[in-house]
């Protein structure tokens, strides 16, 4: 089937500000036409018709922060299992982190990710490469060659490069190629051996805790280094008001800086750790309510550019531990959209604004052609009901690991179908597996 007509849809396209009833025509995996008046004079002959029944049709989500276990920890998650979760969550592009074993720090390993993804994954997989060899924070990787191999950005994932000299040189060198650097802002000395956010609640629980400024310090340092080197820089995820204020000020000075926030930092605060709930042990930790509110406001205003899942699958045995010993991380591909849509349902952000942070904003930062409804753009689409409520159940998740921080929580916003290159990769109505 080379032509598909999506009819009777509510089109949502943050790139053009479109929120109106309409239709989309897909040819050879790409959007060939779309709009409110499309097909007013009839559907083209020979086209397959998908009746959207008035549901919303939006560009597929681009998740800029996904950890998988492939290669090296396939028991936690493979590219294939993560991509099933992504498809079920309306995510059509997963940007995967290099924190694997081996670390994605050389061109042949970038190629490995591309080939494994092509062979097994249902959605697009875009790899980031390590910024330093083996994520050791000491020597920079072959940024130029890695870019040629298809690395979309450079990051040490959830590790902070603590050595300012190394960071300065990596940023300066990366700027030769216009390469995008994605940083993690958590001072590893201030946060050493800690498990949550410092404050009254951690004091009451007796859990070793790191202050919120562990994030701000690195954000402020890296802003200065960007100023010095001119590198393009994206903070993978921030979680504090201090970090947001510093980034907002840096942007207003015209620095090439952007930032993301994890959906769980929009939906949860430190009190949700409750009675030592290890599924809510994440990195950076869940913060104070004032910080959570700052993140919500940052998304609404656009100072926070993107919302990510920070999907980090962990096996049950590493989570069924005391809070101090349990692994960090939460799965999130399947709850990214509904958790983000809470901002819309709570009246804190517009529907198109929420979608903007999940589609066109990451596409622009990464230089991807998807993330929009546009003629010639890849037909990566999600069909959803933004108002449909459902209860999160770990048992029903598609990812291999089930460590969701949202177990039992009711969200609104349900994905019904997901398309990549015009092919349906997820259909809630037909649970049978699709061949890839």
């Amino acid at each position: 089937m080379t032509r598909t007509a999506f009819v009777n849809a509510r089109l949502l396209d943050p790139a053009s500000g479109l929120d109106a009833p309409g239709a989309v025509l897909v040819e050879k995996g790409r959007i060939s036409d779309f709009g409110p008046r499309l097909f007013h004079d009839g559907i083209p002959a020979g086209a397959a018709v998908v009746d959207c029944n008035g549901r919303a049709l939006a560009p597929g989500l681009i998740d800029m922060r996904v950890f998988t276990g492939e290669p090296g920890s396939e028991h936690r998650e493979t590219l294939e299992s993560a991509s099933r979760a992504a498809a079920a969550g309306g995510v059509t592009t997963m940007v995967v982190m290099p924190n694997t074993d081996p670390v994605i720090d050389e061109p042949s390993l970038v190629d490995f990710i591309h080939r494994r993804a092509a062979a097994t994954a249902r959605v697009r997989v875009v790899p980031m490469a390590a910024l330093t060899h083996r994520l050791a924070g000491e020597t920079m990787t072959e940024i130029g060659l890695l870019m040629e191999a298809g690395a979309v950005a450079f990051t040490d994932g959830d590790r902070t490069i603590m050595n300012a000299r190394v960071m300065r040189r990596a940023l300066a060198y990366a700027s030769n190629f216009g390469a995008l650097i994605v940083g993690h802002a958590e001072d590893s000395e201030l946060s050493r051996d800690t498990a949550m956010n410092e404050g009254e609640f951690a004091t009451r629980l007796g859990i070793p805790a790191a202050p919120a400024i562990a994030e701000t310090l690195i954000v402020e340092r890296d802003i200065r280094l960007v100023e010095l080197t001119g590198a393009r820089y994206h903070f993978g995820q921030i979680s504090t008001r201090g970090a947001l204020d510093a980034i907002t000020a840096a942007k207003s000075r015209g620095l090439p800086i952007s930032c993301g926030v994890a959906a769980h930092h929009l939906a949860l605060n430190e009190l949700d750790v409750g009675a030592y709930l290890t599924f809510r042990k994440v990195k950076p930790p869940l913060r104070a309510e004032a910080d959570r509110m700052a993140m919500v406001e940052g998304v609404a205003s656009g100072e926070i550019d993107v919302i990510v899942s920070s999907h980090d699958p962990q096996a049950a045995d590493t989570k069924r531990q005391t809070f101090a010993q349990a692994a960090f991380g939460a799965v999130g591909l399947e709850t990214l959209l509904p958790a983000a849509l809470q901002l819309y349902h709570n009246g804190q952000a517009g529907l198109l604004d929420v979608f903007e942070r999940l589609t066109i904003a990451p596409a622009r930062i990464l230089g991807l052609e998807s993330g929009r409804l546009a003629c010639g753009a890849p037909a990566d689409l999600v069909l959803l009901d933004p108002d449909e409520p459902f209860r999160v159940s770990a048992e029903q998740l598609h990812s291999r690991a089930r460590n969701t921080p949202f177990e039992g929580r009711t969200f609104e916003g349900r994905v019904h179908r997901t398309y990549v290159n015009g092919r349906c990769v997820f259909d809630r109505a037909s649970p049978r597996p699709f061949d890839v």
Binding site: G199, E200, A202, T203, R204, L205, I207, P211, Y276
Partner: protein, 321 residues
């Protein structure tokens, strides 16, 4: 004394002081008072826990807490098994919950847990069928210590209301401090904390306590001076520059004690670092120091806790074949 034979605790576990009501605390202290008298008498062995199994599971070395639970269990007639981390398979990579499952299969009635991580006792209590007693979890809680401290105070001072209790030392890492803050505040005492800034936890004032960094100010008019142990690995530059500097500013000696209320009591959960947080001249002065009495109250208090928990144990075996 309400709880001569009836139930005392709502919960089948003792995980912390936070969840205890004032009446539960008072009943436990009353019960413990009875055991103090009994322990002084010639015939100490009782049959309350005959046929019951108590397991002491200690992931951290402990002398007085472990032996006092052991003695308490034996005096009540229980079979007591001591498991310490050195002899278990924890060091071979088995997790706390693996150990819990193994011990659970041995069908104990009461598990006493000491663990280096906060929340360990709560986690264990979710995974086993028996009663769990928290004998110290990380920097979180040590409820039986707070109970025995309260008992020690109550036997010397009739009323907690308005009593000024100054807790001094490594508050940051101390479960004893947290449990005492919560429990003594519930009983009506005014709690003060005194430590260098590096050893005070964030937002400690939210416990409703007064914070001091100057020991003389903290001791002014204090009725009770509770000193905490400074862990050796936390000295020498990490949290305080040296033991001698610590002793100079935060060690309890006669000069500093003179600022407290005349007749103030000195307490310490043990083991003491003499010459670091407390001067021997104070620690060994039976006119002011009740440190040995705390140990005696420890056995009676733990008997009371085991007694109270045993009342909620099913008479028949809880385990189905």
């Amino acid at each position: 004394m309400r709880g001569i034979d009836g139930p005392i605790l709502k919960s089948s576990h003792l995980l912390g002081t936070d969840s205890l009501s004032v009446s539960e605390i008072t009943d436990l202290l009353d019960l413990a008072d009875g055991y103090v008298a009994l322990n002084c008498a010639g015939e100490r062995k009782r049959s309350l826990l005959t046929g019951r199994t108590l397991i002491n599971l200690f992931f951290e070395p402990s002398t007085r807490t472990q032996s006092s639970f052991e003695l308490a269990g034996k005096r009540l007639g229980a079979d007591v098994l001591n498991m310490s981390v050195r002899t278990s398979s924890i060091s071979k990579g088995e997790t706390l919950l693996d150990t819990a499952a193994t011990l659970n299969a041995m069908r104990p009635d009461i598990l006493v847990l000491r663990h280096q991580d906060a929340g360990a006792a709560a986690l264990l209590s979710q995974k086993v069928d028996c009663s769990v007693v928290n004998a110290g979890d990380g920097a979180h809680e040590h409820p039986t210590q707070a109970l025995l401290d309260a008992l020690t105070i109550r036997r010397r001072r009739t009323n907690f209301e308005g009593l000024i209790v100054t807790i001094c030392g490594d508050i940051l890492h101390s479960r004893v401090a947290r449990s005492n803050i919560i429990l003594l505040s519930k009983l009506g005492a005014r709690v003060r904390l005194c430590a260098p800034r590096t050893l005070l936890p964030a937002e400690a004032e939210r416990f409703g306590v007064e914070i001091y960094t100057d020991m003389v100010e903290a001791l002014a008019d204090a009725d009770i001076v509770m000193m905490l142990r400074l862990q050796l690995e936390r000295m020498a530059g990490a949290f305080v520059p040296s033991t001698r500097e610590y002793f100079r500013f935060y060690g309890l000696d006669r000069d500093k004690l003179a600022y407290a209320k005349p007749g103030a009591l000195v307490m310490h959960p043990g083991p003491m670092n003499r010459g670091i947080e407390i001067d021997s001249a104070v620690a060994d002065d039976i006119e002011v120091s009740v440190i040995q009495e705390q140990v005696e109250m420890g056995v009676a208090t733990r008997m009371a806790v085991l007694d109270a928990l045993a009342r909620s144990l099913p008479r028949e075996g809880r385990y189905r074949p």
